[in-house]
């Protein structure tokens, strides 16, 4: 059985002397800001469904493919999310990837029109 090490929600990598970590909070925020202008809930629901399938299989390549395709639009909305992804895009250990992926998914889900705009 796999034991999740404590505080593993930070994926840390060290480049030179600088330590990089994923700020899940900012990632979720950026996702929400990006998707809140997408009006179609059923589109977002389908996207979430596809992303969930990819995470389930720990298929990081597929996950990023679906995600990048979805945000590959010339709108300003996605600028922040692009920046975040550029910073962090890398092959991650499963534990870090799960937290990373679900932060994005829950972020998209927060923008369904059933709730606040």
């Amino acid at each position: 059985m796999r034991k999740i090490s404590e505080n593993a929600y930070y994926w840390q990598k060290v480049i030179g002397n600088k330590q990089l970590e994923i700020d899940l909070e900012k990632l979720k925020k950026a996702t929400e800001d990006s998707f809140k202008n997408e009006k179609s809930d059923s589109y977002k629901q389908k996207l979430v469904y596809d992303l969930l399938e990819a995470v389930r299989n720990n298929d990081q390549k597929e996950f990023f493919y679906i995600l990048l395709k979805a945000i590959n639009k010339p709108k300003d909305n996605f600028k922040e999310l692009w920046t975040r992804l550029k910073e962090n895009y890398d092959l991650m250990p499963e534990e870090a990837f799960i937290n990373f992926a679900y932060s994005i998914i829950i972020g998209i889900m927060a923008t369904y029109s059933g709730g606040e705009e």
Binding site: Y9, Q45, V55, E95, Y102, M109, S113, G114, G115
Partner: protein, 628 residues
């Protein structure tokens, strides 16, 4: 001026306050002292403290010695004249004494010796055969010291008269007597127990002639008792006019399996010597009592003897050092055994914490459950009942330091192979500080089913597990499993409390990892933990409760709960979140509910330390929405 005087007086009072020393061995003695005084005079701890403040010498040199001897008689089912207690109180209230020696002597002769009159008479009357009063061997027959005094001749003559009569009766009515005494063997020399039996016999079947003889024997016997009674009254109680040579004749017949030959228990000490050694022990006079100089086996069977223990560091634990600190050390050491309560199934047991009042209260409460404890077949019953009492007392007694140092001390019997069992039952500081909260304690004080009915012990007392420092999550996990299988009904509040407490403790530990043990916020951390738990209880109960709206249909919710449970059991966070979010995805309103969305993110996605507890909380809420 007066205020200065008052301060000094108060300081003095404080100095004599009964309190624990930190050494369990002395402390148990202090507890025994308190128990003894309460048992005999009915004073509770507070009253005893007041009496000590009023006049400590009267307590230690007057009330204590009498109580000690009184209790000794009671413990051995001997008659003890309870009227003497009231008389003693009256006398000590009104009488003035020159010094503590004067006080002690007064109590010794007028009360202790009076108290032991009947037992002393019986012991002296137990001499059935005159010949046994003499030492064996040697050219000249000498009267043994314990029978030798100024009126020995008269005494032995009376014994002889009774003996002759006994022999006469035995000769004439041997068979009938054997029948009365229900013995098969030949009666050679009649033992005292048979004599007593004979004196008490009053059967119609006894022949007239024998009846008359027994009546005559009774008269002789009474004569001896009357004679001895007068000797004791005249020479001991009223005038104390016996010489040191006669000391042993008037010895107070007291002994002890626990203290063996210690001080006044020693068989070779006469009445006056017993008195002196008792007095010396109270006032710490080890010039005369060599054995008081060190603390070892003679003082208490829990200790090794100096000979057995050759290690220099542990031997010759000198009492000298304690003289200034614990004024009445030997009083307490003598009372050691009175701290223990005897249970048929467990032996002698006492509860000890490092606070006198707390130990006193808990022990008192434990006595109320004595019957229940004795009846129980549960090996851990004493721990359970003790903890229950400790927990119940928490409300009135908010001392988390005491909770950390708690022990159950017990012994089956003490002989030369000293047997002891000391069980540490302390509640860790972290757990104790959480338990100080009334609501938390109330909710953990529950028995919850965690195993299928086929198992013998299928219920678990949450509080006990918590006190032992064990995690509650596995128990709740099993409980929810039973709920899923419809084997039991959901215990909501105890489960929620257990999960949140476990989560917060885990988070605290994870935060403090690597920090030094006694950091500056050591105490504050514990205090704020309770606040955190309560805050999260409100937040998480509400937020996790929203999951109930995921579907309307109870069966669907149960199906999801089952799937989530499987993932949690396998500790698979990925699958857990996948199942949860996939099902959520169909309910747009729930997905975008800011509270719920945020809660899932904070407590599960972002959280690798305690997400399992919160996950289980979600499952619980899915099951909770059901009609039944």
């Amino acid at each position: 001026m007066s205020s200065e005087y008052e301060t000094i007086m108060n300081e003095q009072k404080l100095h004599f306050a009964l309190k624990f020393t930190g050494n369990w061995f002395f402390d148990v003695g202090i507890l025994g002292f308190v128990n003894l005084m309460e048992g005999v005079y009915g004073w509770d701890l507070k009253t005893l403290q007041e009496k000590i403040n009023e006049d400590k010498e009267k307590v230690y040199y007057g009330y204590f010695p009498f109580a000690y001897f009184y209790k000794w008689l009671l413990d051995r089912n001997e008659k003890a004249n309870s009227k003497l207690i009231e008389n003693l109180k009256e006398e000590l209230e009104k009488k003035k004494f020159k010094d503590n020696k004067d006080l002690f002597d007064f109590v010794w002769f007028n009360f202790i010796c009076r108290l032991f009159k009947e037992l002393w008479i019986r012991k002296k009357s137990e001499l059935v055969h005159k010949s046994e009063a003499y030492t064996r061997g040697g050219r000249e027959k000498q009267v043994k010291k314990q029978y030798n005094y100024k009126n020995t001749e008269i005494y032995l003559k009376k014994i002889e008269e009774r003996e002759n009569l006994i022999n006469k009766i035995l000769r004439k009515h041997k068979d009938e007597i054997k029948k009365i005494l229900k013995v098969e063997k030949e009666l050679g020399k009649l033992e005292y127990k048979y004599l007593e039996q004979l004196l008490k016999s009053n059967d119609d079947s006894i022949s007239l002639e024998l009846k008359e003889l027994i009546e005559l024997l009774r008269e002789r016997h009474e004569e001896i008792n009357k004679f001895l009674n007068e000797e004791w009254e005249n020479n001991v109680i009223n005038q104390q006019k016996f010489t040191r040579d006669e000391d042993l004749f008037y010895r107070i017949p007291i002994d002890s399996g626990f203290y063996k030959n210690f001080l006044f228990f020693n068989n070779s000490l006469g009445n006056l010597e017993q008195k002196d050694s008792f007095y010396n022990a109270i006032c710490f006079n080890f010039d005369k009592e060599e054995m008081l100089k060190k603390i070892d086996k003679p003082i208490n069977k829990f200790l090794p003897s100096e000979n057995e223990f050759s290690n220099i560091n542990y031997t010759e634990l000198s009492t000298k050092e304690f003289k200034s600190q614990i004024e009445y050390l030997f009083v307490y050491l003598l009372c050691f055994t009175y701290a223990f309560e005897k249970y048929e199934n467990l032996g002698y047991v006492t509860f000890y914490s490092n606070d006198l009042e707390f130990s006193y209260i808990i022990n008192k409460k434990l006595k109320l459950y004595k019957k229940k404890i004795e009846k129980s077949k549960d090996q851990n019953i004493i721990l359970r009942v003790t903890w229950q009492q400790v927990i119940d007392s928490l409300v009135e007694y908010k001392s988390s330091w005491s909770l950390e140092n708690m022990y159950i001390i017990s012994y089956k019997r003490l002989d030369n192979q000293t047997q002891e069992n000391i069980e540490y039952i302390g509640i860790p500081k972290l757990q104790a500080s959480i338990l100080l909260d009334d609501t938390i304690r109330y909710n953990l004080n529950n028995r919850i089913q965690f195993r299928s009915k086929n198992f013998e012990n299928n219920f678990c007392w949450l509080l006990e597990e918590f006190i032992k420092g064990k995690p509650l999550y596995p128990i709740i996990l099993n409980h929810i499993n039973l709920v899923l299988n419809e084997e039991t009904s959901l215990k909501i509040n105890p489960s929620i409390y257990s999960l949140i407490i476990d989560a917060k403790i885990l988070e605290l530990r994870s935060r403090n990892k690597g920090k030094s043990l006694f950091s500056t916020d050591f105490f504050d951390t514990y205090k704020s933990l309770v606040g955190e738990i309560k805050k999260d209880l409100i937040y998480s109960s509400f937020s996790a409760g929203l999951v109930k709206g995921i579907f309307r249909d109870d069966d669907t919710k149960r199906r999801i709960a089952r799937e989530l449970f499987g993932a949690l059991k396998e500790k698979n966070k990925n699958i857990f979140l996948n199942i949860l979010l996939k099902n959520m995805n169909e309910n747009k309103e729930l997905c975008s509910n800011e509270n719920f969305n945020r809660w899932i993110f904070d407590k599960i996605i972002k959280n690798d330390t305690s997400y399992e507890m919160y996950g289980l909380l979600l499952i619980m809420n899915l099951l909770r929405g059901e009609k039944n």
